[in-house]
C-alpha cells in the first residue's frame, strides 16, 4: 500500500524525510521513559507525603545520597546489592514462567539460619573455599526444597501458588527461629543467636574494597539466568508456559515438571542470597531478624520488565535507596518502613505508566472509552440523551 502511494505521489512530492531518531532509538527511549518515570513520580509523591508529615523532602533525599553513595558509602550499597540481586534473579526466573513465588522471605530466612548454624564449625574444619562452596549449595538446596510443597500443589492440582508460598513462608520464619534457639544456638551466650563466624573466615573482599565476593556470585547468577532464559530451549519452554499454558501443553511441554523445576531454581537463587548475606556481611543470625529483602525488590523486577540483565541497574538504584534510606529515615525521625510506601508507590505508578504506554502503542487515547465518555459528556446530558 505504501509503495502504491509512493508511486502515485512520486513525481510530485519529494520523498518524506524519515524522522532523525531511528526505530531502535525510539524503542530505547520508550523503555527508559517507562522505567524511569514511575520512579520519579513515586519519589515526587513520596516527597509530598514527607511534606505532609512535616519533614523536608529535599533533606531526606539528600541524606539518601550521603548515606548511599557519597564518600565510600557506595561500597555499603554494593554490599547490600549482593543478596538483592540474587533474589531478583530468582524472581525474574519464576515470574517469567508466570508463577508467583511470594515465599522468598521464608526461603531466605530458613537458608540463612542453616548457613549461620553450620558455617562457624565448617569454616574451622575444612579449607575456606570448600566451606563456602558447600555452604552456598546447602543454602540453595534448603530454600529450593522449601518451595517443593507449593510447587507440587501447583503442578498437580493447580492450587494458587501465591497462597501456598506465603503460608510456607510464615512457617519457615517460625521454623528458622526454632532452629536458632534450638540446635544452632550458641551456648556461650544467653542471647537467642547462632555462633559468630570468625571475621577472617568470612567471604573475602574484592581487592581494594570492602565489598565481599558475594556480589560476584550474584553477577554470575545474573548472567547464567539471562543465558538460560534467552539462549536455551529450557528458557524458551519456560516462557511459552508463562505466556500461554494451554499452548505450552499443545506443544507437548511437560508442564508439571517445568513448574517444579522453575520453583526449585527460583528457591535455589533465594538460598544463595541468604548464604551471600550471612557469609559476607552478618556472620551470625539472631531470632526476630527478618530483613524481608524480597518485598521491596519486587517492583524493580517488574520495572526491569523481567529481564535479568536490566535488573542490575534497578537493583543498584534500590541498594542506594535502601542504604541511604536508613540514614535518611533516622535523621528525619521516621521509621524505615517509609521505604515500603515508596516501593508501593513505584509499583502503582509503574502499572499506570505501563497502561498508558500500551494505549499509546495501540494508537488509542490514554483513557478507556467509558472513562473518556464519562469525562467528556456530563452525566446529566447522557441521561437526557437516553
Amino acid at each position: 500500500m505504501t509503495t502504491d502511494t509512493a508511486a502515485r505521489e512520486g513525481p510530485v512530492a519529494a520523498p518524506r524525510r524519515r524522522p532523525a531518531r531511528s526505530i531502535r532509538a525510539e524503542r530505547i527511549l520508550d523503555v527508559v521513559i517507562r522505567s524511569i518515570v514511575p520512579v520519579v513520580l513515586a519519589l515526587v509523591a513520596g516527597g509530598i507525603l514527607l511534606l505532609a508529615l512535616g519533614r523536608n523532602p529535599l533533606t531526606f533525599y539528600g541524606n539518601i545520597w550521603t548515606g548511599g553513595v557519597a564518600a565510600g558509602a557506595w561500597q555499603d550499597s554494593a554490599i547490600r546489592m549482593a543478596p538483592f540481586l540474587l533474589i531478583a534473579t530468582g524472581l525474574v526466573l519464576i515470574f517469567r514462567a508466570n508463577i508467583w513465588n511470594l515465599g522468598y522471605n521464608g526461603q531466605f530466612l530458613l537458608a540463612a539460619a542453616v548457613v549461620a548454624g553450620y558455617a562457624p564449625h565448617l569454616v574451622n574444619e575444612v579449607p575456606p573455599w570448600v566451606a563456602f562452596v558447600v555452604l552456598f549449595l546447602v543454602a540453595g538446596t534448603v530454600a529450593a526444597l522449601w518451595t517443593l510443597v507449593p510447587a507440587l500443589l501447583k503442578a498437580h492440582y493447580g492450587t494458587n501458588e501465591i497462597i501456598t508460598t506465603l503460608m510456607m513462608s510464615f512457617i519457615a520464619i517460625d521454623l528458622a527461629s526454632i532452629l536458632i534457639k534450638g540446635p544452632f544456638h550458641d551456648s556461650t551466650t544467653p542471647l537467642p543467636q547462632t555462633a559468630v563466624i570468625p571475621f577472617d573466615k568470612m567471604l573475602p573482599s574484592i581487592p581494594g574494597t570492602r565489598i565481599h565476593i558475594g556480589l560476584l556470585v550474584a553477577f554470575a547468577a545474573v548472567l547464567v539466568v539471562h543465558y538460560l532464559l534467552t539462549r536455551t530451549a529450557w528458557g524458551l519452554r519456560l516462557q511459552v508456559m508463562g505466556a500461554n499454558p494451554r499452548a505450552a501443553r499443545h506443544f507437548g511441554i511437560d508442564l508439571p515438571r517445568l513448574i517444579v523445576a522453575s520453583f526449585l531454581a527460583s528457591g535455589f537463587l533465594v538460598g544463595l542470597a541468604a548464604a551471600a548475606d550471612i557469609l559476607g556481611l552478618w556472620g551470625y543470625i539472631r531470632t526476630g531478624w527478618n530483613p524481608a529483602y524480597g518485598d521491596t525488590i519486587i517492583p524493580f523486577v517488574f520495572l526491569a520488565r523481567l529481564n535479568a540483565l536490566a535488573v542490575v541497574p534497578f537493583v543498584a538504584f534500590f541498594s542506594v535507596l535502601s542504604t541511604g534510606g536508613d540514614l535518611a529515615a533516622q535523621q528525619a525521625n521516621l521509621p524505615t518502613d517509609f521505604l515500603y510506601v515508596l516501593v508501593g508507590l513505584i509499583l502503582l505508578f509503574m502499572t499506570v505508566i505501563e497502561y498508558l504506554g500500551r494505549q499509546r502503542e495501540l494508537g488509542a487515547s490514554y483513557l478507556t472509552p467509558g472513562l473518556k465518555r464519562a469525562l467528556r459528556v456530563p452525566r446529566l446530558r447522557r441521561e437526557k440523551a437516553t
Binding site: 503460608m167 517460625d174 525521625n333 521509621p335 518502613d337 515500603y340 508501593g344 509499583l347 478507556t368
Partner: protein
C-alpha cells in the same frame, strides 16, 4: 498423655470457642469480603493492606471520637478508600490485579506504620474495653452462656459480631437467590455472558471490590478496636492472606466462610488455650500451627478448592 484430663475441662472448651470467635471475627469479615470479589472475578491480594488501613483508621476513629461505632465506620471508610485504588486500576483500566494488590499491601503496611509511629511513637495509647451485649435468654445457658467465673461467656459478644453473623447469612441469601448474586457470579464465571445480558461487568466488579474493601476495613477495625485494643505496625500479621485462603476453601459460600474463620480463629488463639491446658510449647511452634493447618487443608482438599474461571482476568469488551 498426662495432660489429657486437663484438655477435656469445661474451661478449655468454652475458652476455645469464645477465643476462636474473638480471633476469628476479623478473619470472618475479611474473608466474606474476599468471597464477594472472588465471585465477581477479582483476586484481591491487597486485602492485607486494606485490613491494615481499616485497623489504623478504625483505631484513630475510636480513639479520637471516643466510640467504637465511629471507629468501625472510619475503618470501613478507610478500607473502601484503599479499595478504590483497586477499582480504578484493576477494574476500570484492566491492570494486573496481582501487581496492584502487592502494591496496596506494601503501601498499606508502610503508611500505617509510618503514620502510627510518627504520631504515637512514645505514647502507644490503648482503647477501653468494648462492652459486650448479652443475648437475653441464651446468656442463662449454664456453661457456654455464663462462662467460668464470668470469663469467656459465649453469648455475650460485641453487637458487631451478631451483625456480622447475620450479614453472613444475608450474603448467602444474596448469592443464592437474588439478581445481584447472579450478576456477581456471572462476572466471575463468564463476564461475556453478563455483558451480553446488558449488565455492566465493570460496574458489577467495582461494587464488589468496594464491598470487599469495606469488609476488610471492618475486619481490621474490629481487630484493633475489640481484639487487641490498640494499634501497632504490621498488626494483621498475614491475616489478610489467611482470609484469601478461607475464601478459596469455602468456595464462596458465606456460611462455610464463617465456619472456617472460627476454626482458624481457634488456631490463632491456640497459645492462650494451650496455656489453660497446661501445655507449654515454644511460641514459634504455636504461631506456625494456623499456617501449617492451612497448608494441610490445601494438601487434603486441593482438588476441591474452587476459583471462578475469570478470576484475576481483566474484562475487556470484545477481546478474546
Amino acid at each position: 498423655m498426662i495432660l489429657a484430663s486437663q484438655v477435656w475441662t469445661q474451661i478449655f472448651w468454652t475458652s476455645a470457642i469464645s477465643g476462636g470467635l474473638l480471633a476469628g471475627v476479623p478473619l470472618m469479615f475479611t474473608a466474606l469480603g474476599e468471597s464477594i470479589s472472588e465471585r465477581a472475578g477479582v483476586l484481591n491480594i491487597g486485602l492485607e493492606g486494606m485490613m491494615l488501613a481499616g485497623a489504623y483508621c478504625g483505631f484513630l476513629g475510636a480513639y479520637y471520637l471516643d466510640t467504637q461505632w465511629l471507629g468501625y465506620l472510619t475503618g470501613i471508610a478507610a478500607g473502601m478508600l484503599a479499595s478504590t485504588i483497586m477499582v480504578v486500576l484493576c477494574v476500570w483500566l484492566g491492570l494486573d490485579q496481582i501487581v496492584v494488590g502487592i502494591a496496596i499491601t506494601l503501601g498499606g503496611e508502610g503508611i500505617t506504620s509510618v503514620l502510627y509511629q510518627t504520631r504515637f511513637s512514645s505514647a502507644q495509647p490503648r482503647l477501653g474495653n468494648v462492652s459486650p451485649n448479652s443475648i437475653p435468654l441464651l446468656d442463662r445457658v449454664p456453661v457456654l452462656g455464663k462462662g467460668i467465673n464470668g470469663e469467656f461467656p459465649l453469648f455475650s459478644q460485641p453487637l458487631v459480631v451478631y451483625l456480622g453473623l447475620a450479614f453472613a447469612v444475608l450474603l448467602g441469601w444474596i448469592f443464592r437467590s437474588t439478581n445481584i448474586g447472579l450478576n456477581l457470579r456471572a462476572a466471575g464465571e463468564k463476564p461475556e455472558a453478563l455483558d451480553a445480558a446488558g449488565v455492566s461487568v465493570v460496574a458489577t466488579r467495582s461494587y464488589a471490590v468496594l464491598a470487599t474493601g469495606a469488609l476488610a476495613g471492618l475486619g481490621g477495625a474490629y481487630l484493633s478496636i475489640a481484639v487487641t485494643g490498640g494499634f501497632q505496625p504490621f498488626l494483621t500479621q498475614g491475616q489478610g492472606f489467611m482470609a484469601i485462603v478461607i475464601a478459596m476453601l469455602a468456595r464462596g459460600r458465606p456460611v462455610a466462610v464463617v465456619i472456617f474463620s472460627l476454626m482458624f480463629g481457634i488456631a490463632l488463639s491456640l497459645s492462650t488455650l494451650l496455656g489453660i491446658a497446661g501445655i507449654n510449647l515454644a511460641p514459634e511452634v504455636v504461631n506456625m500451627i494456623p499456617f501449617a493447618a492451612i497448608i494441610l487443608a490445601l494438601i487434603l482438599f486441593a482438588r476441591r478448592a474452587y476459583l471462578p474461571p475469570a478470576l484475576a482476568l481483566p474484562y475487556v469488551r470484545g477481546a478474546r
